[in-house]
Amino acid sequence: MSAKQVLLIGGLALAILGMSYGLWYAAFAEHQALDGIGQSLSSSFQAAAEKDSSAAENSLLQYREAKYRYDRQVDVHGHWLGLSMLLIIVAIGYDHVSFSQKLKTLLAWILLIGSAFFPLGVLMQTWSHGPAPRYVAALASAMVIVALAAMVLGFLRRQTA
């Protein structure tokens, strides 16, 4: 596959993945998640009113967990879609980047893999609180930044050439 194909087909695939995930989340999970956040917060203060400190703390822990999951699930949707748009725009303007085809294809793959795995790493954080998902997200986001920075350099080379 050429660099442009990698970015274009990869970007469209990510856009469809991000939209499908968002659609599923809005229809089947978001309302329940928001209800859970609101109920646990309310329960905590009701327990405080009844001077039941232990129940209040337990409810707040539930709130923290529900909020942690909700924030990440919404971020996954936003980041997959945002990154997919970036991939497509970069694909359209990739002729402006002045590097060898081999390097351009390598950068395209790095950008695509980073864009796919960064939100996946964030989503994995809702399944496990261990360090592995954080490393996946951090490494993938570094891949996106490095690939994009290299593309900016390639673009600037073209401008000065």
């Binding site: 469809i16 309302h31 203060f45 009701q46 009113a49 400190s53 703390e57 709130y63 359209i92």
Partner: protein, 372 residues
């Protein structure tokens, strides 16, 4: 300000050109229109709803905590219901703003990709109309969620507005999938696309927008990475600790500590909101600038004005995220300049949109002349 435009496009509907009812023109004008409406909606929301809503949430939370201190369990639940309603009001308006703009970007991208979409002109146009309808239906449905609620809904948790919003999302997804199939077919057939003026444009405003857009996207990424690495977990932990302190203070009937916790909570929410908004807006404006770079040949304004509007758009795109980030330190002054930045982007975008509406087909006609 206008360039004389004697030529009328003779491009057939749905081809790569920009004829009056072509797929590309429909997606371009609808896309920029959606971005404009989304931005104006965002500005109105920021000025007239956001701060009042934040004050309402803070007041409801404070009332809930003080009710807990006074052992009034029923009042606690009532105040949290108020808080939930205010948060829903805010959340649906933010989602309306975000989705309108995101679908506008997607429409512009699909417009640019038309040379690679291997489906008939009529099917492409139907898909484009389907996309635009869904892209308007979803934000409209989301906006109405707060007002329609569960009235006449056949479901327990989801109201009619949500159902229509989901339908809009499904339509956008299906249309994008349709265009995606066309692109895959194009690559399978190895058919080379027509020469596209938009993608080979090297004009000064196009280069400014492309370089400025790339810079903004990269800056937004670095800011986001810094926030995630340094502040995200600290903020999440602080959110829990402050609420725990508020709840403990309520149990101990310590009203002074409740007020302190409420104040800390407001400060924390502000810190989080400005960081996320600065990150998101830098990237979104960067993407917008890059997209608009490709459409410069169709902006029917004099070259000097095209440069001015490109400069204005980039200046606004930089001012807004930078000043939003400084809002917690410099208050209303930074907020006012950020709003001005948003206004600059809107005005520049409107000018470019008008320029594209004025386009009458000289580029397509010249391209056809060369082919003949």
């Amino acid at each position: 300000m206008a360039t004389p435009e004697p030529l009328i496009a003779a491009t057939k509907m749905g081809e790569t050109g920009f004829a009056l009812m072509s797929t590309r023109r429909l997606l371009t004008l609808a896309g920029i229109g959606m971005i404009l409406v989304g931005m104006i909606f965002g500005d109105i929301f920021a000025v007239f709803v956001l701060h009042q809503n934040a004050a309402h949430v803070g007041a409801s939370l404070a009332a809930a905590a003080h009710s807990a201190a006074a052992d009034e369990t029923a009042a606690v639940a009532a105040n949290f219901q108020n808080t939930g309603a205010a948060l829903e009001n805010r959340g649906t308006k933010v989602d309306t703003h975000v989705h309108l703009i995101a679908f506008g970007y997607l429409a512009l991208m699909l417009a640019l990709l038309q040379p690679w979409v291997r489906i008939s002109a009529a099917s492409a146009r139907k898909l484009a109309l389907f996309f635009v309808f869904g892209a308007v239906l979803l934000p409209l449905g989301v906006f109405l969620i707060h007002y329609v609620g569960l009235a006449y809904s056949p479901l327990q948790a989801i109201g009619w507005a949500s159902i229509f919003a989901d339908l809009g999302g499904f339509m956008v997804l299906a249309a994008t999938l349709g265009f995606g199939v066309g692109i895959v077919r194009h690559f399978q057939t190895r058919h080379s696309p027509q020469q596209d003026q938009l993608l080979s444009n090297r004009s000064v405003p196009a280069r400014w927008l492309l370089a400025g857009g790339l810079f903004l996207v990269l800056a937004g990424f670095l800011h986001g990475a810094y926030y995630a690495g340094v502040n995200l977990y600290r903020h999440e932990d602080a959110d829990y600790r402050i609420l725990l302190s508020m709840s403990s203070a309520a149990a101990a009937r310590n009203h002074a500590q409740i007020d302190q916790a409420i104040s800390d909570y407001g400060q924390l929410q502000g810190d989080k909101a400005v960081s996320i908004a600065a990150h998101a807006h830098a990237i979104e404006f960067g993407l917008l600038a890059m997209l608009l770079a490709f459409f410069q040949p169709y902006v029917q304004l004099r070259e000097a004005w095209k440069r001015r509007w490109a400069g204005v758009l980039l200046m606004g795109s930089l001012l807004l995220p930078v000043c939003v980030q400084m809002e917690m330190k410099f208050g209303l002054l930074a907020g006012g300049i950020a709003d001005l930045g948003g206004l600059l982007v809107i005005v520049a975008l409107l000018a470019m949109w008008i320029g594209i509406v004025r386009y009458t087909g000289n580029i397509d006609a010249m391209a056809q002349g060369r082919q003949a």
